[in-house]
Every structure is written in structure tokens, then in C-alpha cells.
């Protein structure tokens, strides 16, 4: 009877009896079971951060939105196209927050254009069309999902073509535009708790490591070198976890991120 009761209670809790064996702490420098670290890093989508801002206040997303040119000129260098694709997808998340359906549809079309230039349009077109269709219906939740999927599909196609470095640049472009939007919102209505969202040192370190591992030819491209320099400037401003980030620091990070995004979008407006 006792045994039966234990089984019932365990089933009700949806857990196993081994639950209590979970270590309450680990040494992160000496991981349990000799665990090594998975190389793949999932970069947060902008909406993951924006959702915190939405809970903390009423950001003026329309003021943060930077419409993408209808006649965007595709850059000639693949590195810039990849970075630009990332920023355009991130802009899509801002446009969703602003509930600007016309701009979201424009972004869907721009994603197709840039994906074509990177030869990954076959993987992305379906997603981009879904972005456009769902923007028409103002189904914002689905648009966010399709933006995320469009980026993943583009990056998987690049991975299949052995273009992992370009794939990283897509992530970096998206992260930088997300950071620029985040700092713009925090700056407009400074609160200690929203400034705290800037504590992202592991992502910065990851991007820096990936840029450093790129072939020299790619690293020497002025735009890629500019990105690396900019990341180096942002790194000390993000501080250590648990420390406060000041209003001035938010402004400084915003200025650097803005300059980097401008570098990515330069010469793309006819």
C-alpha cells in the first residue's frame, strides 16, 4: 500500500523519485561528469528582450523603428549582405512591436532579396511569404515565429554550403540591431531593471571569438574589422553580472551599436 501511494504521488508530481538527487550547486569551471561545452550558441531573438521591456513599461516602438528602404541596394560584398540580412530580420521584430504591417511586409520582401543575393532564397522564400501573409492578418505572434524561422533556415542553408562564417555574421547583424533598439528604449525611459538587460557578456565573447576565428581575408574586410573593434568597445561597458549599468553607459552602448548598424546599412539606400 505504502509503495503504491509513493508511486501515485510521484506520478501526480510528474517527476521521478531521483529528483532529489539534483546537485544544488556545481563548479562551473569544473563541470559535472567531465561535461564539455556545446559549441552551438543560440542567440536570443530581439522579441525575447523586447517582451521584458513590454512588461516594464510602454516603449514607443514606432520611434525606435527604422523603416527599411523600399529600394534597398544590395551590397556587393557577401559579408555586408549577411550582416544586413540579420539587421533587417531584427528590424522585423521591431516592426512587429510597432504593429506596422506595411513595414513588416516590406521587410519580408527585403529578406527574400537579400537571401537571393546569398543564394539561400530557396530555404527562406516560404518563410518570408509567411511573414507577409501573417502581417496582412496582423497575426503578430506568427510573424515573430516566421522571422525566427527565416533566420534559422537561412543560417542552416549557409551551414550546408560551408558558409558558417557568413551565418555568424547574420546572427551578429541581428544582435547588434536588437542591442541598438534595446538601448534606445532603455535610454528613453531609464530604469535600473531594464538597463540590467544589457548584461550579455557571454554573447559578446562568443561573437568576438567567432570573428577572431574567421579567415584573415574576411577579418581584413573593413566592415568586419569595424564590427570587431566595436564589440571590443562595448565589452567593458556591459560590466559584470550583478553590477549596475548607468544611464550614461546605456547611452554609450547605444552610440556604438548605432554606429555599427550604420556601417552595415551604408550605401544601401539609393
Amino acid at each position: 500500500m505504502k509503495k503504491a501511494l509513493i508511486v501515485i504521488f510521484a506520478a501526480m508530481a510528474g517527476t521521478t523519485l531521483g529528483q532529489g538527487e539534483v546537485p544544488q550547486s556545481i563548479d562551473i569551471h569544473n563541470l559535472p561528469g567531465g561535461a564539455n561545452v556545446v559549441e552551438h550558441v543560440v542567440i536570443p531573438v530581439p522579441s525575447e528582450i523586447f517582451s521584458v521591456l513590454d512588461k516594464a513599461g510602454k516603449p514607443r516602438w514606432k520611434e525606435v523603428l527604422r523603416p527599411v528602404s523600399r529600394n534597398l541596394k544590395t551590397p556587393s560584398e557577401r559579408e555586408q549582405i549577411a550582416l544586413l540580412l540579420g539587421t533587417v530580420i531584427a528590424e522585423g521584430f521591431v516592426a512587429v512591436e510597432a504593429e506596422e504591417d506595411v513595414e513588416v511586409k516590406n521587410i519580408g520582401n527585403t529578406v527574400i532579396k537579400l537571401a537571393k543575393a546569398l543564394h539561400v532564397e530557396a530555404s527562406v522564400t516560404k518563410r518570408a511569404n509567411a511573414i507577409i501573409d501573417n502581417a496582412d492578418k496582423k497575426n503578430w505572434k506568427q510573424v515573430r515565429k516566421e522571422l525566427d524561422a527565416a533566420q534559422r533556415d537561412a543560417q542552416e542553408a549557409m551551414h550546408a554550403m560551408q558558409d558558417d562564417d557568413l551565418s555568424q555574421l547574420v546572427s551578429l547583424g541581428g544582435w547588434l540591431r536588437g542591442l541598438e533598439a534595446l538601448t534606445a528604449v532603455v535610454k528613453a525611459d531609464f530604469k535600473k531593471e531594464t538597463a540590467d538587460l544589457l548584461h550579455q557578456p557571454s554573447l559578446l565573447d562568443y561573437f568576438d571569438k567567432r570573428l577572431a576565428a574567421m579567415p584573415k581575408k574576411m577579418q581584413d574586410k573593413p566592415l568586419v574589422a569595424k564590427m570587431r573593434k566595436g564589440l571590443g568597445e562595448i565589452r567593458p561597458l556591459m560590466g559584470t553580472e550583478g553590477s549596475d549599468i548607468s544611464e550614461k553607459t546605456v547611452g554609450d552602448v547605444n552610440a556604438i551599436a548605432e554606429d555599427l548598424v550604420k556601417g552595415i546599412t551604408v550605401k544601401t539606400n539609393p
Binding site: 508530481a13 510528474g14 517527476t15 521521478t16 531521483g18 529528483q19 539534483v22 546537485p23 544544488q24 550547486s25 556545481i26 563548479d27 562551473i28 563541470l31 559535472p32 561528469g33 567531465g34 561535461a35 564539455n36 561545452v37 556545446v38 552551438h40 550558441v41 543560440v42 542567440i43 536570443p44 531573438v45 522579441s47 525575447e48 528582450i49 517582451s51 521584458v52 512588461k55 516594464a56 505572434k141 515573430r144 515565429k145 525566427d148 524561422a149 533566420q151 534559422r152 531593471e193 540590467d196 538587460l197 544589457l198 548584461h199 550579455q200 557578456p201 557571454s202 554573447l203 553580472e241 550583478g242
Partner: protein, 144 residues
Amino acid sequence: MKRIIPVFFLFVALLAQPHPARATIDDALTFALEAADPYVKEGYTVREDYWGGDLPVKQAKAIVHQLFKGNEYWFWMGTDKDNVKISVHVYDSDGRLAEAESWQKPHKAAARVVPKKTGTYYLIVEIEKSPEERTYWSLAYGFK
């Protein structure tokens, strides 16, 4: 020539098959996403990107991941193999167990985190028990 043709067709057939590791990680992902399903109805947004691989029994793998205070997160782990016990647990940057709850079921395990601070977290995945030498796993996450 007669010997070459069957070898050629075998080679072509092998090339035509999806990558077995990728296919198995995708199978594991199916279970992870199945675990996520009830939480989607609770408003969680499931990310399209995910982690995956294969592990021997009792050897853990760590995933470094950025979490934001103000969100809630679920991490769902899956495997397509039967009679396997898997686990996922989440620790903060000081190495303290950070999850609010966790569970283990056949083919699935999950952990929920309500971050006390924005920053780096460590997801520890493990195959606790398996009849296989190595077991494929996949990990997805969602936030709200």
C-alpha cells in the same frame, strides 16, 4: 564494369539518404517539441533554433545560454530512444541550481527557470540511463 555499377548505385543511394545523425537529432527534437506543446497554450514562445547531439550514459554536456530577468523559460529535452532516462538542469553563473521546477518522463525531461538576474546560465544535459552506447538528444526552449 559489372562490379562497378552496383557499387556506384550503392554510393548514390547512400548519398541520397538524409544525414543519419541529423535525422536522429530531428527525431529527438520531435519529442522535445511534444513536451513543449502544453506550454505553448500557456503563452510560451518556442524558439526555432535548438541544440542537439549524442552522448554516452552518465556523461553530461553543458550549454552556455543567456537568460533575461523578467522572462520565464522552459527548457525541453527529448530523445527518440525507448527505455532512456534523460535530464536537464539549469545553473546560474555562480553554479547555483536556478530552476523553479523540473521533471523527467519517458523520452522527455524539462526544467523551468524564472531568472533572478540577467546573464549567463549553464544548462546541464545528461543521459542518465540508456541501453544504447550513445543516445541522441535534442533541447529546445521557450520563453514568455
